[in-house]
């Protein structure tokens, strides 16, 4: 049931200078945002179908549009999950992943079975203030992913049992008030 026309039409509407420059009345601005959001919701099915096709297997693909404020219900709760990185450029790229998590130790494995260096750092108070009650991740899992030209790579992430309460050994976190 994939349909990219919803987003195509929303993008068409959003070519108006009111949408480009932000010169619309508030309720119109709200509608621009709503149309774009609905378009992206519809396109997720398109992307899922495409990924299922090139991967040769159907998965329950999940999208996390609030990663910029460390919100993703799957990565926050799941013990194991898969990260698929699709690169739309015609050259290989590296990309630094930041995923909201609640564990303190993780194993990240690349498609060749090699362990990927990763770190878990606390979600900042800045982010906690912004996201309000939308997510409860205490930490962020950081690792570098790489993806081939016009292709994808999958990374498997597993939570490891951690005995230490909170990151004490890995982090060098210093508090300082200037002046």
């Amino acid at each position: 049931n994939a349909n990219s026309s919803v987003l195509r039409q929303a993008m068409g509407v959003a070519q108006h200078h009111d949408a480009v420059s932000g010169t619309a009345k508030q309720h119109v601005t709200n509608d621009y945002a709503k149309q774009l959001s609905s378009g992206w919701d519809a396109c997720q099915t398109v992307v899922s179908n495409a990924l299922a096709s090139i991967m040769g297997t159907k998965e329950n693909f999940i999208y996390c549009p609030y990663l910029n404020i460390s919100v993703c219900l799957l990565t926050e709760a799941a013990e194991t999950f898969m990260v698929i990185v699709y690169n739309p450029l015609a050259r290989p790229v590296d990309w630094n992943m930041r995923l909201p998590v609640n564990g303190s130790h993780y194993s990240v494995v690349d498609p060749n079975g090699q362990a990927v260096l990763n770190e878990v750092i606390p979600v900042s108070s800045f982010t906690q203030a912004v996201r309000r009650d939308r997510g409860y991740a205490a930490n962020e899992l950081v690792f570098r992913a790489s993806a081939p030209p016009l292709g994808y790579r999958t990374y498997s992430v597993s939570r490891r049992p951690g005995k230490k309460p909170a990151l004490a050994r890995e982090l060098k976190r210093l508090l300082y008030r200037p002046g």
Binding site: K25, F61, T75, F126, T154, K172, P178
Partner: protein
Amino acid sequence: AAPLSWTIQNEHLRVVFDPSTGLLKTIENLDKNISLPVSQNFFWYNASTGNQENNQASGAYIFRPNGSEPFHVSQRARLYHVKNQVVQEVYQNFSAWCSQVVRLYAGEPYVELEWTVGPIPIQDGLGKEVISRFETNLQTDGLFYTDSNGREILERRRDYRATWNLSQTEPVAGNYYPVNSRIYIKDKKVQLTVLTDRSQGGSSILDGSLELMVHRRLLHDDARGVGEPLLEPGDYHHGLVVRGRHLILLDTAESSADQHRLRAQQEFMAPQVVFAPGGGPPYQPG
């Protein structure tokens, strides 16, 4: 606590902070042996409500501050930092509504500034247009560069128009230009480039400086047709919070384009990240 070394560093860059202010102080390109004093801070212009010369208020269509000097959000930032192998971060808290994380990822030739601005307070009755300003000692002679329309990069000259004699009446707004993906300043040797993650307004109001408007919240309509002040309420009607990123590149003037063109392309067509529960299927290289 005595100030320790407020420095983050990777293979390519070293970023030094002033321990007395918490502000960015120096960026060094270790590959090219370039060191540039760079101070970066957040300011706000007080939005004009009109004056005797012109009753034009700042609004959705019009950027018109009521003075040329912006106000500091704060002259100091409270800091803490996190140093790891993959990423090093310095957290700067400027005020209850303005903060920033300065990041260096291992192996990456850029400095990432992730800023969070808002809700902009308006209890004082003043509309505010918030900027991030970088100040350097580069001898720029009134020139800066923007990539309007996302196509060729255009040279901008302060208080100047190429096709008519300009009598500048708006020293700030009259020098603002669209920035779709990048803005830079340079002298004969060194170039400081800032890549944006969205279209913003930008300028170089003073030689050696560069600024980008990151957020605005206004109390008056500019009478250009929209009929409403630019006063988005956001969650709980407190005003919008905006989070974005600026990527900073420091390189020679000759080789900067090699850096910023590829990096901007990667930002614009960023990898699509999708998740799936469980361990997942085997990877198919084809």
